[in-house]
């Protein structure tokens, strides 16, 4: 290839041309010192000159012969259709004329662009106005000198992707432990300035369909540097689409766009309170409303398709952690902090007025990653349009029993493989909108780690049904009946601790008789036997000591 280029250059050089360029300069002297296109002969562009003097009228030079790709792109753009020729931006003989956008479009008002300052500060013109070859977001984190951070801290579940919850937790960690770090976000877009679209890309291209800025990468540079893929919605918030709106919670309940979007003004709580009056008044009085999130939309996205009940613990935490970024470091007193946040949401503790429940769901373990089973997967096994509740519960009661779930899981394991199991989370199921409780007085493990924990009285099975998740109340406990492996991950420490009720039952009040009751205690017997032994040993030591004193030994 280079040889061909050299041959082309040699042949096209002024020396070899039919009419040497030097002859042209005799009359057109000022082009002798041209700074552009200086390596090609005049007659390469000014066609039709066979001898000097040449004809009065020559054909207009075209750029197409050499720059055909650019010309092609250009003819698709708005500038061509407005009649702009190449030489209106490019000086053919002289220095390049400022071909940048601002030279013709200084101070564009961008009147209709929401969050104008933010958009203009981060994006270049082609990002919205051009056809893009490549675009993406790069977030570069530079740690303070000498600091290191392992990849698994960013991508906690190890799936190679940092989701919003993981990224927020990571930023929180940076704030707390890596003072002096730098986080630079770059929204880069490469396109050709020649192909500018008649209309700018609409918001949805970035905020909904993600045809632009569809990927984000976090580059963490410390002693060694590495990259992590990030869900782009971390950096570019998602907007609802009109076509999806009927599927949203509001849409399903018959709320129309214009019910809330009364004017062009930003929506305020006054709009929400029209329907959510009671919740609003509870929240309004709380400290959280006065100091932190002052409007409903600070936490709630009114265009969500999922109902709050369908959010798992991690998704719920992601809402709070948008502001409370340091939630992990603030809970360092909690042993196995990260593990707790896999099973709890913030309001499990910080909203005493809310009702909490233990919710069970079927999950699949794949490469150490847990995924809740979706309806589609179950449909494939149980047939189209299956009503799962009736599969699990033959008696058509409003409840499912622990053993019914157990039987169903054993069945599922046979059909879908050994990786299926029952998982559980402790979630708020009836929300009381006061989150002002900053620090629970009782930082007490036994609030939850005890057989008397309140959520054992309120247990639900989240069942994926067509288009919706349903909450089915669960009767009886699930944990002790089945082999350890099935409910491995839902054992709470301290669950098997002897209680007063157990003791009373043992002392003759159990209907099935004390020995049978003792047998049903399982590991709780350790407490019972342990305490009895301790008491016996102390008593015998006291007796021994007393005797020693009596016989003066």
């Amino acid at each position: 290839m280079p040889i061909l280029v050299i041959i082309f250059l040699i042949l096209s050089s002024p020396v070899w041309a039919a009419v040497p360029s030097d002859d042209c300069f005799d009359c057109h002297e000022k082009f002798k010192k041209r700074t552009s296109h200086e390596s090609i002969a005049c007659t390469d562009c000014h066609l039709g000159i066979k001898e000097i003097p040449h004809a009065e009228k020559l054909t207009r030079p075209t750029c197409n012969a050499c720059h055909h790709k650019t010309v092609e792109r250009y003819s698709a753009g708005i500038h061509k259709s407005k009649g702009l020729a190449c030489n209106q931006c490019h000086a053919v003989h002289g220095k390049k004329k400022g071909a940048d956008c601002a030279s013709c479009h200084p101070n564009v008002a961008h009147k209709t662009l929401p969050s104008k300052a933010k958009h203009l500060a981060t994006l270049n013109c082609v990002a919205c106005h051009g056809k893009l070859d490549k675009s993406g977001i790069t977030a570069t984190v530079t740690l303070p000198k000498g600091a290191t951070l392992e990849k698994k801290v960013v991508d906690r579940d190890g799936n190679g992707f940092a989701n919003p919850a993981e990224w927020h937790a990571f930023e929180a960690l940076l704030d707390q432990k890596f003072k002096g770090y730098k986080l630079e976000k770059q929204y880069w877009a490469y396109g050709d300035n020649h192909e500018i679209m008649p209309k700018a890309a609409d918001c949805g291209e970035c905020h909904e369909k993600r045809t632009r800025f569809a990927s984000a990468v976090g580059r963490i540079t410390d002693v060694t540097s590495y990259s992590v893929q990030i869900t782009p919605s971390v950096f570019i918030p998602e907007f609802p689409s009109l076509s999806e709106f009927p599927k949203t919670v509001h849409g399903q309940k018959g709320v129309r766009c214009t019910d809330c979007h009364i004017s062009k003004d930003k929506i305020t709580d006054k709009v929400c309170v029209r329907c959510h009056e009671q919740v609003y008044h509870t929240y309004e009085k709380s400290i959280h409303a006065k100091k932190g999130a002052t409007s409903c939309t600070d936490c709630h996205n009114p265009h969500l398709i999922k109902t709050y009940k369908e959010f798992n613990a991690k998704e719920r935490i992601a809402i709070c952690s948008r502001c409370h970024k340091d939630y992990i470091t603030r809970h360092e007193w909690l042993p196995n902090t990260a593990l707790h946040f896999d099973y709890l949401e913030c309001t499990t503790c910080h909203s005493p007025g809310s009702e909490k429940s233990m919710v069970f769901f079927f999950a699949n373990k794949k490469d150490n990653k847990k995924n809740a089973l979706q309806y589609e997967a179950l449909e494939r096994v149980f047939g189209k349009n299956v009503h799962l509740k009736s599969v699990i519960n033959n008696y058509a009661e409003n409840m499912v029993k622990g053993e019914e779930i157990g039987r169903f899981v054993i069945d599922l394991k046979k059909k879908m493989g050994e990786k299926i199991y029952v998982d559980a989370e402790i979630l708020v199921t009836k929300v009381h909108h006061d989150y002002s409780v900053k620090r629970l007085k009782e930082r007490n493990c036994v609030t939850c780690h005890s057989p008397e924990a309140h959520f054992y009285n309120s247990m639900y099975l989240i069942l994926p049904e067509k288009d919706r998740h349903i909450y089915v109340p669960v009767k009886g406990t699930l944990l002790s009946i089945y082999p350890i492996g099935m409910a491995l991950d839902i054992y709470l420490l301290g669950e098997e601790k002897i209680t007063k009720d157990d003791l009373y039952a043992l002392l003759g009040k159990a209907p099935e008789g004390s020995p049978a009751y003792a047998k049903s205690l399982g590991f709780k017997l350790i407490d019972l036997v342990g305490v009895i032994l301790v008491i016996l040993v102390i008593l015998s030591i006291l007796a021994h000591a007393l005797l020693r004193i009596l016989v003066k030994r």
Binding site: E495, I526, G530, K552
Partner: protein, 218 residues
Amino acid sequence: MKKVFLHTLTIRIWHWINALIVIALMVTGIQLRVPEVEGIARQMAIWIPEYSMAVLIHKYIGYAMALSFLFWLIYIFASGSFRTHYLPRPADIPILGKQTFYYIIGVFQGSENPFSPTAEGKFNPLQKIAYGSVMLVITPLIVVTGVLFSDIFFFRSVIDRLGGVRLLDALHVLASYLFLLNLIVHLYMCTMGHHIFDHIKAMILGFEEMPDESPSKH
């Protein structure tokens, strides 16, 4: 009276550090299991750490316990004192019965202790059984289960293979009851020297004063 050297300086220092560790772990452990203790202690104006603090203390002193145990394990084998003092021998068997008889009946009749500790063997057969099981079975069990608990995420695969958090919890609690039982007996038995504080003195000074031939009568 003769002086019998029983405990090296290393073991004496280790013993008292370990004692502090055990006390801290016992107190916080009981508090974690029975949080009502906190309220009772407050009423009796006894200082007791706040629950969340107790959690942290238990965790970090737990690490200290693990280190302390490791140190002891290495020391006991490297110094050869495992062979000298802990390893059961055939000669122990006949003394076993005598020793038990002495603790239950003999001591009240004023008979002499069938075993007297020397630098060549400081534990009687019963002590070998007790200390051996505490230090080589119960403590390792408690330390290993405890360390596994410190980061369930990290040790998940190991925990799953062992039978899950539930079994781990049961083992940790079981081991701590056994430990507590042994500790109670240990605290009482240390008063069984010729003088009530003789054994404790020995653990501070290293040697114990023994009567030359026959035991002195009190």
